[in-house]
Symmetry: C2
Subunit: 683 residues, 2 copies
C-alpha cells in the first residue's frame, strides 16, 4: 500500500513498500536483494546482518526516524551476548519495518559477494559456489500419513527454501534419521547444485545449525608438483596452500615417459593412477590440518591438469595421448563424486569438477589459465605462456583465441642441467654477470643477500649453495650472452676470447664457473655447453609455439605477454626476452600472472558461473597442434640462436636502465642492424 | 508425392507414401512404426526383420506386386547364409520400396513387444526396458579439430539415433578408446535411460556389434529367502530362476529380531548389510551360470523387499522401523548404480531400481504385489494377502486402495510348530482327515502319492516323512476342526471325546498324531495344542488386518481374495477359509497369484512405464498402521476362534462337493445359526 513504510536497500538501490512489522529479511527476499541466510530467518546463523542508517537521506527522498525499525529483541540480545554483533548491526530476520528506512547490506552479508583474488589483479570472483549450507525444519513423522524422513526433508526444502528436485546418496540417507532426531527435526544440509542443473543433491547433513563451514580444494595437478589451495566456500578466502611432489615422477620425469611406462608395463597406468590419488589424499589431509579444519568438511574439489595427468587421474590409459592424432578419451568438463577418484580423505560425498581440456596436448590447466587471464575478453592481443615441462601457449583477444602446447622439456625446471636442481633453498635463482669484469654474483632461494654482499656466507650457511634452478639458469645464460661470454649461436668462448678465467675448458667445449664451493666441500657450479644446448632447445620450442600461433593469426607482434605458471612467476622478463624465449614485446608489457592455472582452479571452485563461462570459452578456442605442423619445426630450428645483444637492448633501454656493455670477440655480430630477430636468424 | 508407392504396416495399420528406393526401416521410422534395430540399418543385427505380403489386399485398397520390394541383396544373402533368415522375411534396412506394399512387423521385431507373463494371467508386459543396445559409428579423431572420443560418440548418437544428453561414468570412459579402435570406430553401447529422465547413460561398450545380449535380475529380497529371476532385457524371457537363504537369518529369524540385533549390537546393521549383499552377489553368479551368461552382462537389477530388508540392503540402520512411528528413512523409488550396493558380481555400471515403500510396515514388496495384481485397476473389490512372516494386505478397487501389514509371525512357514519345518522334500504339505474314522492321510513334498496309496512307503523312501510345513499345518488344523477333533476355541479333545486313539494326552493337553515313523527311526509327527495356538495367533493377525482394512473402507465383504506369496501359492483356499485366515468370499473367487512380488519385480525390470505407474499408484494408496490401531487389537482378539463348521460348509458346499460330517462332542457350537463370524466370536 502507498501508506506502508518504504524500505530502501543499499548498495543495490532496490526499494519497496512493506507493511509495518515485516522482517527486513522478508523484504529483502521479496525485492530480490542479495541478503544471505543459512538458518532461514530463525535468528541463529547471523548471516543476514544489516546496517540500518538513520537521519535525512535526501538523495533517496526519505527521512529515517530513530524508531524506523523494531526494538532490539531477545534473539538479537542473546546473539550479541553469545557471539557478539558489530555495532550498528541488526539481524535482518529479527528487525522489522516500523517506518521508512534505509538498510545497507554489508559485503559479508551478500550471498554473491565479490572476493578480490589478489592484489595484482583487478578482477574479482563473484561468489557462487556449487555447494551451500541451508538450515531446514522438517516435519515429524506421522504414522497415519506415513512418508519417509527424506521425503519430508524434500517437502521442507521446497516450502522453506523454494528448492525442488533434491536428491541424496546412500551415505546421506544413512545419516539422515539420527541427524533429524538429534537436531530435534532441525538439520543443516550441504546442498550441491551443479552449473546449469535443475536438481540439487544433499552432500551432507548435520543436526541443528552446522557452524563448521564448508570448504573446497582447488588443485593444480602438475606433472611434477601437486599444488592446492584450501578455500572457504562461503567467502572464497584461501585458508591454506600446500604442495607435494607428484609421486608419478618415479614412473617417468616427463609426461611422455609416463605414457611410455603405461605402454610398456601392463597395469602401469593403474599403478600411476593409484599413486596420484593417494598423494591427493595425503595433500588434502595435510592442508586441512594446516588450516585446522576437518577434511570431511571439504565438499568440493576442482582439478586443473594437463591431458596426461587428466587421464591418469581419471584412471584412463593415456596411451592415445602419446601418438598422433592425440585423441582424448573425453575433453568436456567433468562432474563426479570424489569417491569415483578414491578421494576418501575428504567428505565421502564431495563433488569433483574438472575443467575441460582444450585438445590432446592442451589440457584443463590451459583452460584454467584462460579462465584466470581471460584472453577472450582482452581488448589487445595477449600472448600467455604457462611455462612448465610442457608449455601451454594462448594467443588472442576478444576476437579470437588460439592455443597450442609446446614440448619444452624439463630444462626450464632445472632438470637436464649439469648443476641443475629444483627450486628449493640453496638453489641459485638470480644471476648477474658484470659485463666488464665478467664476474658473476647471484642469490639463492632462502637468503635475501646477493653472493657479493657482506655476510652472505653466514646468511647462506644453513643450506649452502647447492645448485641452480630454472630461473637461475635462464638468467645465467642470458647474462652470459649480455656479457659476451657466449655468442649468438650459444657457443661459450675460451678464456682468451672472453677475457675471464671463469671460462674453463671441458673436453672440447668450455664451461663458465658461477660458484666454486669445493673448498668447503660444496659443489662447483658451472654452466656447461650442454646446459646451453638444453636451454636453447627448450626456449626454441617455446618460441616456436608462440610464433606458430602468431602465424596462424597473421600477426608479427603481440601487445603484451603474460608469463604464467609457478616458474613463470620467477622468470625475469628481461632475461626471458634476451634469451629469446618469447617474441618481442615492450618490457613493461611483459608481466607475470603467478600460478594462473591455480587461480583458474580457485575461480572455478568459487563460482558456477565461471564453470559455465570457461566451458563456453574452451569450445571457441582454436587449437593448433604443434607436433605435426611443419611450420613449428621451421620456427623451432630458426629459434635456436640467442639473439644478439643489440635487439634486447633496443627494447630494454626503452624501459629499464642498464649499463652499456662492450662486446667480446664472440660479439662480432653485434654490429648487425635492427631488423626483426626471426628474419635475421634465418640468414 | 501422390505417385509414390504406398507402404502399409500391419498390425499397426500405419501407412504413408515413400519415394521408390526408401528402405522399409526408414519408412517405419518416419511413420513411428515400432520396428526394432540395434545396428541402425547396417544389416548386421537382424532386429528389423519384416514379412512383406503379396497379392490383392482389398481391405487396404492395394494390390502388392511381386516386385514391390527390391530384390534380395548381398547383405540379406550373407545374413541368411551365416545365421539363417526365416522364410518370407526380409531385413527392413535392406529391402527398399519399389511399389505399393503391405509389410507385417512380427512381434519379435517390435521394440515394445508384449511378453505374456504366465499362463494364468491375462496381463502382458509391454517391453520397455531402461537399458537397450545401440550400434553406432563414431567419427575418427582429427587432430586439427580436436575433440574427445566420448564427445564424438555423443555426436554420433545424436546424429544416428537422435539420442541427446548422453553421459558416461569412468568405467566406460576407461573402455572407450580401446573399444573404438578395436571396433574400427563402430561400437555397441548399452544405453540406460531411467523413467522420466531426459538424459541417457552409457553403461557399457563393446567393439563392433555386441551379440551377447543384455540381462536383468528381478530380486524378491525376503526375510527368509532371496529369490531372483534372470530375464532377457530384449524380450523379457525368464532365462533362469533361483533362490538362496537370506544369510541374515543368523542374526534373527524375523524382522523385529534383526532390528533388535541392530539396536543391541553397534555395527550390527553394517554386518547384516554386508551379509545380504554378499548373498546377492552369490545368487547373481549362480543364476548367471545356470543361464549360461556372463554376470557382467547383467545391466539392470530390480529389488522388492519389506522395509526392514530395504533399509538393510541400503545400509541404513533399521532402528526407526522397530518403534512407533515406524519412520522410513526414504519411501520413494530409488535409482542407483549397483556399485552403491557393492554388487560387484554383475556389471560394474549396472543400475538398480528399488520399488517405492508404501509405509513403515508395508514395503516395496507390497508395492510389487500391487504392480502385479493391480487392485487399483480392479472393477470389483479385491483383498490381496501376501502371506509370509509379515503379511502384507491390500484391499481395494479402482476407487481406492488401502494397505497394511500384519505381524503373522513365522508359524505359517512351519516355524514355531512342534514338528514344523520349511517347505522341503519330506515335509507334509497336504492333510485330509476322515470325519468318520478320524484317520489322517497326507502327502509329502517330493512324492505324488497319498500316504494311504499303495507304494507310498517305497515312493517316499528317499526322504522319508520329515516334518510338516506351513501349508500342511494349516490343512491339518482345518481338517481337525472339520473332523470334530478340535473345537471352535482350538482345544483338542481327549480320545474319549473325539473317538480316536490318535488323540494323545501330553502334559495337561492333547495332541493329534498324524504320522508315527518311530518304528523306522523316523519322527512322530503330531499337532500339539501349542501348534494350534501358534496357528491361531498367526491367522488372527492376518484376519484382523484384513478386517481392519474392510472397516476402514466401510465394507463387510469382499468380491474376491488373492493369495500371494510363494506360500500363498500352496495354501488350499478351502482350508484357509475353514481356519478363518481370510474373510468369507465365494470359494471360486479365492485364487492364488503365486509369487506376485516377484512378478511385480519382473514387470518393473522389463518396463519403465510400469515403474512410473507403481510410483504413482503407491502415492495414492491409503496406509493403515495396524500396530497402534485399537480396532486391530479388537479384531485380533475376536479372531482367535476357528469358525464353527457350519459357516465354511455353507460356503464350501456351493462350490465343492464334500462329504457331510457329523460333529463330535466339541462341535456343540455347530448348532449356532448363520450370522457373521466376527459377531459370533464376540459372544
Amino acid at each position: 500500500m502507498a501508506d506502508d513504510p518504504l524500505v530502501i536497500f543499499t548498495p543495490s538501490g532496490k526499494r519497496g513498500r512493506f507493511p509495518t512489522g515485516t522482517p527486513i529479511l522478508t523484504a529483502a527476499r521479496q525485492l530480490g536483494v542479495d541478503l544471505d541466510s543459512v538458518c532461514g530467518g530463525r535468528g541463529i546463523c547471523s548471516k543476514c546482518q544489516v546496517a540500518p542508517s538513520y537521519g535525512d537521506f535526501s538523495k533517496h527522498g526519505v527521512t529515517v526516524r530513530d524508531d524506523a525499525l523494531s526494538d532490539w529483541n531477545a534473539v538479537e540480545e542473546r546473539y550479541d551476548r553469545v557471539r557478539g554483533l558489530k555495532k550498528g548491526r541488526r539481524l535482518g530476520c529479527q528487525a522489522t519495518v516500523q517506518g521508512d528506512v534505509v538498510i545497507d547490506v554489508p559485503a559479508e552479508s551478500q550471498v554473491h559477494r565479490q572476493v578480490v583474488r589478489k592484489a595484482a589483479s583487478d578482477r574479482a570472483i563473484v561468489m557462487d559456489a556449487a555447494t551451500r549450507l541451508v538450515l531446514v525444519e522438517v516435519a515429524e513423522p506421522d504414522m497415519h500419513e506415513p512418508s519417509g524422513d527424506f521425503e519430508r526433508l524434500q517437502d521442507a526444502l521446497k516450502e522453506q527454501w523454494q528448492i525442488e528436485g533434491v536428491t541424496a546418496g546412500l551415505p546421506v540417507l544413512r545419516k539422515l534419521q539420527p541427524a533429524l532426531r538429534k537436531g530435534k527435526w532441525q538439520v543443516t544440509v550441504a546442498l550441491h547444485r551443479a552449473q546449469g542443473a535443475a536438481t540439487s543433491q544433499v552432500l551432507d547433513i548435520w543436526p541443528g545449525l552446522h557452524e563448521g563451514g564448508l570448504y573446497g580444494l582447488a588443485i593444480d595437478l602438475g606433472s611434477t608438483t601437486i599444488a592446492a589451495h584450501l578455500c572457504d566456500l562461503d567467502d572464497g578466502r584461501v585458508l591454506a596452500s600446500a604442495g607435494i611432489m607428484n609421486p608419478q615422477i618415479r614412473f617417468g620425469e616427463d609426461l611422455m615417459s609416463r605414457v611410455s611406462y603405461a605402454m610398456m608395463n601392463p597395469g602401469g597406468d593403474v599403478e600411476m593412477t593409484r599413486a596420484v590419488r593417494e598423494a591427493i589424499n595425503t595433500l588434502a589431509v595435510e592442508i586441512a590440518g594446516e588450516a585446522g579444519i576437518e577434511p570431511a568438511l571439504i565438499m568440493e574439489t576442482v582439478f586443473v591438469c594437463n591431458p596426461v595427468m587428466h587421464h591418469l587421474l581419471l584412471g584412463i590409459d593415456p596411451v592415445e595421448l602419446g601418438q598422433a592424432p592425440f585423441a582424448l578419451a573425453t575433453s568436456s568438463a567433468l562432474d563426479m563424486p570424489a569417491s569415483d577418484l578414491d578421494l576418501d580423505a575428504i567428505n565421502p560425498q564431495a563433488q569433483v569438477y574438472i575443467l575441460p581440456c582444450i585438445a590432446g596436448h592442451v589440457g584443463a590447466d590451459a583452460a584454467a589459465v584462460a579462465l584466470s587471464e581471460e584472453p577472450d575478453r582482452s581488448e589487445d592481443l595477449v600472448l600467455i605462456v604457462d611455462v612448465g615441462t610442457n608449455a601451454e601457449i594462448l594467443l588472442g583477444s576478444k576476437e579470437k583465441v588460439l592455443a597450442c602446447s609446446s614440448p619444452t622439456g624439463p630444462a626450464f625446471e632445472g632438470a637436464q642441467i649439469s648443476s641443475g636442481q629444483r627450486a628449493a633453498p640453496g638453489a641459485i635463482e638470480r644471476v648477474e654477470i658484470d659485463p666488464t669484469t665478467k664476474e658473476p654474483r647471484f642469490r639463492i632461494i632462502g637468503c635475501d643477500l646477493w653472493s657479493d654482499d657482506p655476510g652472505f656466507a653466514e646468511a647462506s650457511a644453513a643450506t649452502g649453495v647447492t645448485g641452480i634452478c630454472g630461473s637461475g639458469i635462464i638468467e645465467a645464460v642470458a647474462e652470459m650472452r649480455l656479457a659476451g661470454i657466449m655468442d649468438a649461436t650459444g657457443l661459450i668462448g675460451s678464456p682468451g676470447q672472453v677475457g675471464t678465467p671463469r671460462c674453463e675448458a671441458t673436453d672440447r667445449t668450455h664451461a663458465y664457473l658461477i660458484h666454486d664451493g669445493s673448498a668447503g666441500g660444496g659443489p662447483r657450479i658451472t654452466v656447461t655447453q650442454g646446459d646451453i644446448r638444453a636451454i636453447q632447445l627448450a626456449k626454441s620450442a617455446l618460441y616456436a609455439g608462440a610464433r606458430l600461433l602468431m602465424d596462424e593469426l597473421g600477426v608479427d607482434h603481440v601487445d603484451r605477454v603474460t608469463l604464467a605458471g609457478a616458474f613463470g612467476a620467477h622468470i625475469s622478463p628481461k632475461h626471458a626476452m634476451v634469451l629469446g624465449m618469447i617474441p618481442d614485446a615492450p618490457l613493461d608489457k611483459v608481466t607475470s600472472a603467478g600460478n594462473a592455472a591455480g587461480h583458474g582452479a580457485r575461480i572455478a571452485l568459487c563460482s558456477r558461473a565461471a564453470r559455465t563461462r570457461i566451458e563456453d570459452a574452451v569450445r571457441k578456442i582454436h587449437k593448433v597442434e604443434t607436433a605435426v605442423e611443419p611450420k613449428f619445426q621451421e620456427h623451432f630450428v630458426n629459434a635456436s640462436a640467442v639473439p644478439n645483444a643489440v635487439d634486447p637492448f633496443d627494447i630494454l633501454n626503452s624501459v629499464v636502465t642498464l649499463p652499456k656493455v662492450h662486446y667480446g670477440a664472440a660479439g662480432g655480430d653485434g654490429s648487425a642492424g635492427g631488423g626483426r630477430r626471426r628474419q635475421r636468424q634465418r640468414s
